[in-house]
Symmetry: C2
Subunit: 271 residues, 2 copies
């Protein structure tokens, strides 16, 4: 069991930011990443549909053999953790929302926390619940920053289009919540916007995302498994668009991805 890879599942390429943090935190581990690029984005879909897709993806990774499943997509984390845990009762299943909430609570002085996320994650209320579970007096407000997903995939994370977009979403957040002391990036597509958001927010506002705290949570969860070092290469699976996955994904992983590293997999065959 110890020598099996850690499974990482995302709707597409955004979860590569979490994979990057996992590799840094757990350099001796092997990883098997699955991006459901044939059906992305999840952020505009209903919770039931996202849950069904997550079960198919989890099933595929379990069939290939993993020792732990990381749901590296905020929308999927908000919609599918109970179903995944019920379907795979002996497998540790970790999402990114509890770690993101924990990072927010650690960073926040006054408990005034803003969340930028997808439409589906905002609708789920998952961050509000997770943050208030850790700090009941926190004031949490969420805004759907739908356009950030497309902007990140286009690579437009600063400049004349991204700046007014970010200003508008932060304005919506301010109208809703006043000044926040901590901003949570509740979607794995959003870390590339940190420099821009940093330039638009007050200097004392913390910006946190789930990647680092998720990696820490995974390390703690796996502490009981000793691992033979010297892992093999990371393996990447995608349900569609290998060329695009490699090209756009490199921005999220932080290094080039060769098309030969990515295997295409069909989830609709999995029931």
């Amino acid at each position: 069991l110890a020598d099996l890879p850690i499974g990482v599942f995302d709707s597409g390429i955004g979860g590569l930011t979490v994979l990057r943090a996992l590799e840094r935190e757990l350099p001796d581990e092997e990883f098997l990443y699955l991006g459901d690029t044939a059906r992305l984005p999840y952020g505009t879909k209903t919770a039931q549909t996202v849950e069904r897709y997550a079960l198919q993806a989890g099933g595929e990774l379990v069939r290939r053999g993993i020792k732990c499943l990381v749901v590296a997509c905020n929308t999927a984390s908000s919609a599918s953790l109970p179903a995944l845990r019920a379907a795979f009762p002996t497998l540790p299943v970790l999402g990114v929302i509890d770690p993101g909430a924990s990072a927010a609570v650690q960073a926040s002085r006054a408990g005034r926390i803003g969340v930028l996320a997808t439409e589906a994650t905002v609708r789920s209320g998952a961050y509000e619940r997770a943050i208030r579970g850790l700090r009941p007096d926190a004031r949490v407000s969420s805004v759907a920053a739908s356009l950030f997903v497309a902007l990140a995939e286009e690579g437009w994370t600063e400049g004349e289009v991204a700046t007014p977009t970010a200003r508008r979403y932060l304005g919506d957040l301010k109208a809703l919540a006043g000044d926040v002391d901590t901003l949570v990036l509740g979607c794995t597509h959003f870390p590339p916007f940190v420099p821009l958001l940093r330039s638009l927010l007050p200097a004392d506002c913390a910006i946190v995302d789930s990647a680092a705290t998720t990696a820490t949570a995974v390390r703690q969860c796996l502490a009981d498994y000793t691992r033979t070092p010297a892992p093999g290469p990371m393996r990447l699976l995608a349900t569609d668009g290998i060329e695009r996955f490699a090209r756009v994904g490199a921005r999220f992983l932080g290094r080039p991805i060769g098309e030969a590293q990515v295997e295409r997999v069909d989830l609709t065959a999995v029931v």
Copy 2:
């Protein structure tokens, strides 16, 4: 046969602009519209995946009974017409690219035609082929305007974000092709940007989309079928997110959509 509805298939809600034109052109017909909202957008997916999805959607509409299939999505039209015609050999199957190409050739004086479309439609080269088939000396250049899809769904079709985005895509087109005399909107999500594009383009540049010419092509194709008037209500199917389909779709159909008008359908059960 004459009394069966006309089937209209799109990746989501953009095809409602085509449905609107069809209703105007063919007021005595009944329509059955299917939006594959569970798997949209198609524009970033590979041709093989889009073809598979289109066959499932076409199969569902054929099973329910239609006399003609309109593929109201440019990406699906570019990727799936041969497969759909092979799968349903007795059914007239019409896409939006040939009508769009025809509209462009009619509008163009000098044959300098620019196309804004999705990544997948641009990659397919379908507009270039269709336009040159009608006018071999035409100079056709295409630019992927990926962000327009997300902007249209967000409802940001003018203002401080849409304007620099449109300016950038038109700039890419100009760098590629110089001044064009006709701009084709090669994605059904793009008609809401017409006022903005109009304001940025020279006054003598024509802007065309496929909706009206597709409706004309369907009318011509069905001329042999006489139809008993007094159609029933239009029926709408979506594979996910009824509430969102109704809310965002109203912008494309041009009138409100009641959630009760939209039926959810599961295409993954169709093989």
